[in-house]
Amino acid sequence: MELDDLKQTWNQNQSTKPLNTDIMELIQHKSYGPLAALKKAFRKQIVFMAIIPAYFIMLNVDDLHALSNNVILWSYIAFCLGVIIFSYYNYRLVNKMEGMDNLVKVNLEQQVNLLERSMKWKKTALMAALLFFILLIEIVPYFQHYRMLDKWHSVPAAIRYVVYAGLFVLQYFANTWVNERRYGRHLKYLKELVKEMQ
């Protein structure tokens, strides 16, 4: 069968018409694609991370002195701020990925580049968050007494450091696995297409 023989039939063919062609109605809908879903997830994360610390502050607002000296709470707030900044950065990356009016090749290359950058940032941010909490656990007992932390500090330092190292390794593999499951296939698919366009 020759492709050129079918050109006329192809151009006359109307059987592909979708049911709903009300353009006005269609543009009122929200995008349901994965990029829109990602943006929504980052927006939710930003709101959630802003509400939780505000809630804790409101709970302790009666005792301002205790509140201002609560190292754990302020550390948690710093962590939430970090997550908000990270989510906002990712939100902007996804925004850039949404532009669909580029040349197809340029668009694909941009998507690969942004997705890889986002994954790299995520890896770094998670490492930084873990390091932050380890430092917190190690340093806080010098300023404030928390029964749980006292117990942990009664464990020999060598064992504690081995556990921390184990946590880093575990986090590295867990993150790689999650990234592979969530974005790996899609990234591979995009890279194959970019290669195909060379």
Binding site: M1, L3, L6, I27, G33, D101, N102, L103, V104, Q111
Partner: protein
């Protein structure tokens, strides 16, 4: 007022080229529901990108870019959308029809063969079937004309192999 005029103009452009958009959906989605979803997503993306359209290229070139980009990379929610398959041979037609039916049947066979191409090849073959020039294909896809010609020849051969039983 200006927004209303923009909307009217946008709807006019879409209505003039809707058959072209349906064909993108036909090539990239394989069930009516998926085609409907893809059509909706393409229209939404076109509407979002419309304020940036300054008329530097032909409206059809711009529409193709957004539609193909959306079909290729914007939709990965459903597994049966925008995927490619390992080549298998296409089933033979059941009976003998009159000329028109026969041609229609052959077109459906061709669509089935096109389903087995990857997303980039689908875009190239679709633009070729739509009688777009290689220059216009270059402006849509970003591939050089020489490269497009080579790819088109390979695709033709691939489709010939896939439909050789017909």
């Amino acid at each position: 007022m200006q927004k209303l005029e923009g909307e009217k103009e946008f709807i006019k452009h879409i209505s003039q080229h809707e058959l072209m958009l349906y064909k993108v959906c036909r090539v990239y989605a394989y069930s009516d529901a998926d085609r409907q979803d893809l059509f909706q997503e393409i229209v939404i993306q076109l509407w979002k990108a419309y304020p940036k359209f300054k008329g530097d290229s032909k409206i059809s070139t711009w529409l193709y870019r957004v539609a193909i980009n959306t079909a290729i990379s914007g939709l990965r929610k459903k597994k049966n959308l925008v995927t490619s398959f390992e080549p298998t041979s296409i089933p033979e037609p059941a009976g003998v029809y009159d000329q028109e039916h026969c041609q229609e049947e052959r077109l459906q066979q061709m669509y089935q063969a096109i389903e087995q191409l990857n997303a980039v090849e689908k875009a190239i073959v679709m633009l070729y079937m739509e009688d777009r020039t290689y220059l216009e294909m270059e402006e849509i896809l970003g591939l050089g004309q020489g490269n497009l010609r080579v790819k088109m020849n390979r695709i033709k051969e691939k489709l010939r192999q896939l439909t050789k039983n017909y």
